[in-house]
């Protein structure tokens, strides 16, 4: 088969694996963070402002790993640098 087809197959499979595996960890982490924040809110409703702000900031921090995986998956699918190299090598 043409090498560019193999590159496409590898990129699509890897993109799926990237987002699938990469979203497991942040999901568990965000669930833990939200549960802890909820119990903290129940214990100390007066500190709700601080807890909510810290929760949002830490959720953004945790979520960024999933976002990195998403960006890598998008690059693999829509802007893969290797497909262009393969077509150039095949053409020239």
């Amino acid at each position: 088969m043409d090498p560019s087809i193999w590159i496409s197959i590898a990129s699509i499979v890897t993109a799926g694996l990237t987002i699938a595996i990469g979203s497991v960890g942040p999901a568990l982490g965000e669930g833990r963070a939200a549960a802890q924040a909820l119990s903290a809110l129940a214990q100390q409703p007066d500190a709700s402002n601080t807890i909510t702000r810290t929760l949002f900031v830490s959720l953004a921090m945790i979520e960024s790993t999933a976002i990195y995986c998403f960006v890598v998956a998008m690059i693999l699918i829509f802007a893969n640098p290797f497909t262009q190299t393969a077509t150039q090598a095949a053409g020239g």
Binding site: N49, T50, R53, F56, V57, A60, M61, E63, S64, I67, Y68, F70, V71, M74, F78, A79
Partner: protein, 243 residues
Amino acid sequence: MEITPDQWILYEWRGVALNATVAFTWAIMALLVLGSWAVTRNLSQGETVSRWQVALEVIVGGIRDQIDQIGAARPGRYLPFIGTLFLFIATANLLMIVPGYRPPTGSLSTTAALALCVLVAVPLFAILQRGVGGYLKSYVQPNVIMLPFNIISEFSRTLALAVRLYGNVMSGTVIAGILVSVAPFFFPVLMQLLGLLTGMIQAYIFAVLAMVYIAAATKAEQKAAKAGSGHDSAPETQEKEGH
């Protein structure tokens, strides 16, 4: 499919291309500047206050309160920078409801520029507050071994700021685009609603993180002094061990 508005060329004149990112950024800047100019042209302190002035007072007061709660010494000094970041990103993301508009924050160039502003602003405010020596001392804070890690964290958090905002906004537009071709009308509307919420939260997070970085750089000494006398933290640790 275009994943960034950089590739969408609106207008080309003798090899100089005007892409959608630049055009929409300038449109948002014009909207913000003209809007605040029109409102602040005739401010009043009397009994009758225009409703636009009230709206602006609520926004500015809210941002000032948030900065104050994060714990910076003088919120007025950071209000212009943090407020501009928040208002720009929030406007850029909220205008998603306008048809034919692509948020410029969905391009890595815009978010990298915003993150670079934060990268420059943190040392600037820290030097204004503590002097050059005090700022440079914060890099060797626990001890000298941590120097490379402190420098790396300075750059990696800038990268994280840029990629986080870009990834969130870009994922919203890409998912909407995919869903329009797969399941038109209903699901894209739901994802757009989610995108509005995400955009607002990301604007808030970007501004809060910038403020947290600035606050950490400007008041490292106060925090060390507080930790030395801290009797607040002791019961918490005991309670945690008890569980």
